[in-house]
Each structure stands twice: as structure tokens, then as C-alpha cells.
């Protein structure tokens, strides 16, 4: 009986899998092979390939990409954003999660508020941030300022200087200011997921450790570093790794704030990232785009392996 089922299962299983496999072969399997192939073909052009032309195999695409100034700028922006936002958002999320876990009243209410940015559209809310940082009525650097924008208004209030303002994202703004805005937005957007994971971890921590620490009169600070952080280390490792993977693929949050010019007015592509570079090159220079995509994959793989290696040493249990 069982044998009959099994042999019958055999072809039936493939029948069930047929739609998935056909689609996966076309849109997942073939791209993996083809992208690697194109990356190593020098001067690849799909139209010429249809015409029967063959291309030399070599590393030219990779050389072109890594020596191309624009790509290096993209790499720089991506790295800066990645290595600032991941630690910042992780620490902030840890702090919020620990505080949330320690309070009684209002806990659920605050928890809901902190999760709110999770289910949002990064382009749409990016436009809200852009409005908040914008100088209203500032047309291409000519000072016709009517309202310096809410963020500048707050700064004016805090400094007590009514004429103080910073050109965050308008025409003529500096790279540093643009990056600061991006960091704030990306951290804001990354918080809920991290809080969710860390709070989940905290709730499963055995309360006895804390009671023991209390009896011993251990200080709060010490309890945090010696008990909370080690016990949470698997979750911390998890949010850091996923944070880095997402960080290296940063793209749409920048589109949200600056539009698809990826930079302030008059300085397009100033904040382009690696993924942005790939999309720019994709239609006209498929070879370079493929090489860049493989480089991106390599970086993500290396960073993930390093993270895993570090967390293996540091993660307790």
C-alpha cells in the first residue's frame, strides 16, 4: 500500500511543483546564471548578442566598476549609512526595549506607538520627512524663505535665535547635512522591527537572573551589561545581521526623501547608493550592473560571515 502511494507520489509531486518550478527557473534560476555570465563578458550588449556577436571573457566589467568614480561615491555613501544607522538603531532599540520591558502602566500603549513605523511605506513617509526638513519657499538657493520648516523651527526655538536655520536638503545643501537627514530617517524606520525582536527576547528571559542580581545589590548599569546584553545576544546578533543586509541595499529611503534624482536639487546622484548604481546601469550597461551586483552580493556575504563569526564568539548560548 505504502509503496503504491510512493510511486504514485513521485510524478504527482512534480506536477504540483510544476508552476513554481517553471517560474523559478525563468525568474530566479536563469538570472543567477545569466548575471554571472554577463558580468564576465567584456563590452556586453544584449542587442549585439542577438546579432550573433560574441564577447571576450574577462574581468573588464569589474575593473571598470571599481575604478569608476561614481561607483566609489555610491559605495562610500552606502558604507557611511550602513555603519552609522545599524549601531545607532540597534542601541536605541535595545534601550527602548529594556525600558518598555521594565514598566507597568502604559506599556501596551507605548509598545503600539513604537511599532507604528513598521507598517509604513518608506517612500511616502520619506516625503513627510522631506517636508519636515525642507525650507519652504526656498527656490534654488535664492533666499525667499517663508518658513524654515518644522525641524528648523524647533532648532530656532531651542537656540533662541529666530533667524537660525540649516539647509538640510534644499539646493546647495552639503553632503554632511544630507547624510544626517538620511541617518535620522533610516534609524526612525529601522526601530520598530528591532524593538519587536528585542522585546520578544526580553520577555522570554528568565526573571530569576534579575532577582538574583537584585538580592546581590548589583547596580542597574551592571545588570544591563552583565545580564541583559549577554542573554539577549542571539537577538542582538540577529537584528545586527539583518540590519547590515538591509543597510547595504539602501535605496528607497533615499528616493523617499530626495526623489529618484537621489540628491538635492542641482546635485543629482549626490546620495546614490550601490543599489541605485545597479539600477542606473541596468538598461544600458548590463555588464557593469551585473558586476556591481556580484560585488554587492560579495560584500553582503563577507559582512554576514564576519557578523556570524563575531557572534559565535560573543553570543552566550
Amino acid at each position: 500500500m505504502k509503496k503504491i502511494i510512493k510511486s504514485f507520489d513521485h510524478w504527482k509531486a512534480w506536477l504540483y511543483l510544476l508552476p513554481a518550478i517553471v517560474l523559478l527557473l525563468i525568474f530566479t534560476g536563469w538570472p543567477i546564471i545569466n548575471t554571472i555570465r554577463i558580468a564576465f563578458l567584456e563590452g556586453y550588449d544584449p542587442m549585439k548578442e542577438v546579432g550573433g556577436e560574441t564577447f571576450r571573457i574577462g574581468f573588464q566589467n569589474f575593473e571598470k566598476v571599481v575604478t569608476y568614480k561614481r561607483f566609489l561615491e555610491c559605495l562610500k555613501t552606502t558604507m557611511i549609512l550602513c555603519f552609522t544607522t545599524v549601531p545607532l538603531s540597534t542601541m536605541l532599540a535595545l534601550l527602548i526595549a529594556v525600558c518598555l520591558n521594565s514598566i507597568g502602566p502604559l506599556k501596551r500603549f507605548l509598545q503600539t506607538i513604537f511599532f507604528m513605523p513598521y507598517v509604513t511605506n518608506s517612500i511616502a513617509i520619506g516625503m513627510v520627512f522631506a517636508a519636515m526638513f525642507n525650507i519652504v519657499g526656498n527656490a534654488s538657493g535664492i533666499t525667499t524663505i517663508q518658513n524654515a520648516g518644522i525641524v528648523n523651527n524647533v532648532l530656532q526655538f531651542l537656540t533662541g535665535n529666530k533667524d537660525f536655520y540649516i539647509n538640510w536638503i534644499n539646493a546647495g545643501s552639503t553632503y554632511t547635512h544630507n547624510i544626517i537627514v538620511m541617518i535620522i530617517y533610516i534609524v526612525w524606520h529601522a526601530l520598530p522591527f528591532k524593538i519587536l525582536i528585542l522585546l520578544g527576547g526580553l520577555q522570554s528571559v528568565n526573571k530569576q537572573y534579575y532577582e538574583a542580581a537584585k538580592v546581590d545589590g548589583t547596580s542597574r548599569f551592571r545588570t544591563f551589561w552583565r545580564i541583559t546584553v549577554p542573554l539577549l545576544s542571539p537577538m542582538i546578533a540577529y537584528v545586527v545581521i539583518t540590519g547590515f543586509i538591509g543597510g547595504f541595499k539602501e535605496y528607497s529611503s533615499i528616493v523617499g526623501i530626495f526623489g529618484d534624482t537621489m540628491g538635492p536639487a542641482g546635485n543629482a546622484k549626490a546620495l546614490n547608493t550601490m543599489v541605485g548604481y545597479i539600477y542606473d546601469a541596468l538598461a544600458g550597461q548590463a555588464g557593469r550592473a551585473s558586476a556591481a551586483a556580484l560585488i554587492l552580493f560579495g560584500i553582503i556575504l563577507v559582512v554576514t560571515l564576519i557578523n556570524l563569526w563575531v557572534s559565535k564568539k560573543k553570543v552566550h548560548y
Partner: protein, 297 residues
């Protein structure tokens, strides 16, 4: 005597110690709440600013000293937003693409997950492992070739191009397979003995038992259509097929600061509203998917 007084002093010390600890814990409580409330205000502020800005007149929005509550609710901004951004067309496109791709995706996912969870065939584990392996590869790597592929198929600027390439998600197959595996195999064998057809068993037993996962997949898939920007921008950037997020961003491409922000914020609020409703009513289904997967928003 000396012994006794020392004991008294130490007792007194202890009392002040505990008092100190009490004061300390009260201060800690206050600091904790203060920190949380300030952070909560920062987190929620953009939403608040979006809504009140969308209700201000342009003149009020441009006042040198901002108002924190509109003097007068200018609902016209919303009417203007629908005109300026053709939101209704984009909304229609997004609903069509979202619904069709969700339904087809559910069918494909259920069939594959069933095969992986219940049927025995050669190379099953190898195939499943290979599928999971593809999850590690960044999507950009696929996009380059897929762009050329859909171009060769002549799919540019159609609904098809927005639906078909992303129908199969390895992650959803994995999620559903895990759920199917929890259903005891005895049920399946019993159904077999009774001569129940696979389809009937799938429909009557497996699907009802894994409804929460299927709902999670549906919500995530619909949200995917709602939030997708990159692919629509590449392959369906015409008005007749543009999805809502691309349409929104593209309609307000001027970032010089001269923009009519209240109208723009009204459009953003309209696009954000369905997501907010999902958050309020269906949060637990998303959280379920999230805590297992680690997909970032």
C-alpha cells in the same frame, strides 16, 4: 557598649541605604518614562505632522511660526491631491495587480508547500535546500536579467510584468510548508485509505488548518504591491499601469521647496491610510510573519 552602638549605626545605615534605593528607583522610573515618552513623541511626530499639514491651507503652512493645529480644516487639499496625482488610477492598478498576484501566488504556494510537506519524491531535500539558498541572494541580482527577460517577452508596460515575475516566493513556500508539517501525517494517510482525493484533502483539511499563515501571506503580498517602487519604476512607468507608490513619488518630483506641501501631504496620507488600517486591525498576522522571517519593512 561599643559593640551595641556600632550595631545601631550599621542598622541606621541600612535604613538610609534602603531609603536611598527607594528614591533611586523612583528617579529611575521617572527617567525611564520620560525617555520613553520623548522617544514615542519623536516616533509619532511625522504621522501627526503629515495629517495636520494635509489639512492646512498653503498660506497657513507657510507661516513663519508654524501652527500645531490647523486654524481651519481645508479638506480641498484631498480633492486636489486626487487630481494632481491621479491617485484613483494608481489605486485601481494597484488593487488589480495586488489581487491577481495574491490569488495566483496563493495557488502556487499551496501546491508547492503541499508537495514539500506531504509527498515523497527523489531529490526533495536537495531541491528544497536549493530554493532556500536562493533567499540569500540580493534581489538586485535577479532584476538585471529579469529586466532583459520581460523586455524580450514584450511585457513592458503591462499588468503581466508586475504580476508574473514575483509570483513564486520561496519564503512563503517555506512558511506554509512549516505549517503543513505541523498537521499530523496520520490525517493524510487516513484520508488516503478512505480514498479521499488529494485536492479534497488539501481543500478540506490542510487549508482550513493553516488559515492564519495564508492570511499572513495575503496581507504581505497585498502590502508588497502597495509599497513596491523599484520594479514598477523600471518596467511599468506609464500612467495606465503605474502602481500607487511609484505614482505618488513621480507626481511630486519637485523637491525645491516651492511645492504645495499640504496637497502633497494629503496624497501621502491617502496612500498611508490603508497601511494604517492594516496595522490597527491585522497587526498580529504581520507580526507572525515578521518574527519568523526577519524581513525588514
Amino acid at each position: 557598649m561599643a559593640e551595641k552602638s556600632r550595631k545601631l549605626i550599621s542598622e541606621k545605615n541600612m535604613r538610609t541605604e534602603t531609603q536611598k534605593a527607594k528614591v533611586g528607583s523612583v528617579i529611575a522610573k521617572i527617567v525611564t518614562y520620560l525617555f520613553l515618552v520623548i522617544m514615542a513623541i519623536i516616533v509619532i511626530f511625522p504621522f501627526y505632522w503629515m495629517i495636520i499639514s494635509s489639512l492646512k491651507t498653503l498660506d497657513e503652512y507657510r507661516l513663519p511660526v508654524p501652527t500645531f493645529w490647523p486654524k481651519f480644516f481645508d479638506w480641498d487639499n484631498y480633492a486636489e491631491a486626487f487630481q494632481a496625482a491621479k491617485l484613483l488610477t494608481y489605486f485601481k492598478n494597484t488593487v488589480i495587480v495586488g489581487l491577481v498576484s495574491t490569488i495566483l501566488s496563493l495557488v502556487v504556494t499551496v501546491l508547492s508547500a503541499f508537495a514539500f510537506a506531504r509527498l515523497e519524491f527523489k531529490g526533495k531535500n536537495l531541491l528544497f535546500g536549493a530554493l532556500l539558498g536562493t533567499m540569500m541572494i540580493p534581489g538586485e541580482l535577479f532584476t538585471i536579467t529579469n529586466y532583459a527577460t520581460v523586455n524580450a517577452f514584450g511585457w513592458m508596460k503591462t499588468y503581466t510584468v508586475l504580476i508574473v515575475p514575483f509570483l513564486v516566493s520561496v519564503f512563503y513556500i517555506y512558511l506554509l510548508r512549516q505549517n503543513f508539517l505541523q498537521i499530523p501525517n496520520e490525517l493524510y494517510l487516513a484520508a488516503k485509505v478512505d480514498g479521499t482525493r488529494d485536492f479534497k484533502y488539501l481543500w478540506k483539511v490542510m487549508i482550513p488548518l493553516s488559515m492564519p499563515t495564508l492570511i499572513s501571506i495575503t496581507i504581505l503580498k497585498m502590502m508588497g504591491a502597495w509599497n513596491s517602487y523599484i520594479w514598477p519604476r523600471l518596467v511599468a512607468n506609464d500612467e495606465a499601469h503605474a502602481l500607487i507608490t511609484y505614482g505618488l513619488r513621480n507626481s511630486f518630483s519637485d523637491t525645491s521647496g516651492m511645492t504645495d506641501y499640504p496637497v502633497q501631504m494629503a496624497a501621502v496620507a491617502v496612500v498611508s491610510l490603508p497601511l494604517f488600517l492594516v496595522f490597527v486591525f491585522l497587526r498580529k498576522y504581520i507580526m507572525k510573519g515578521v518574527s519568523r522571517s526577519g524581513i525588514k519593512g
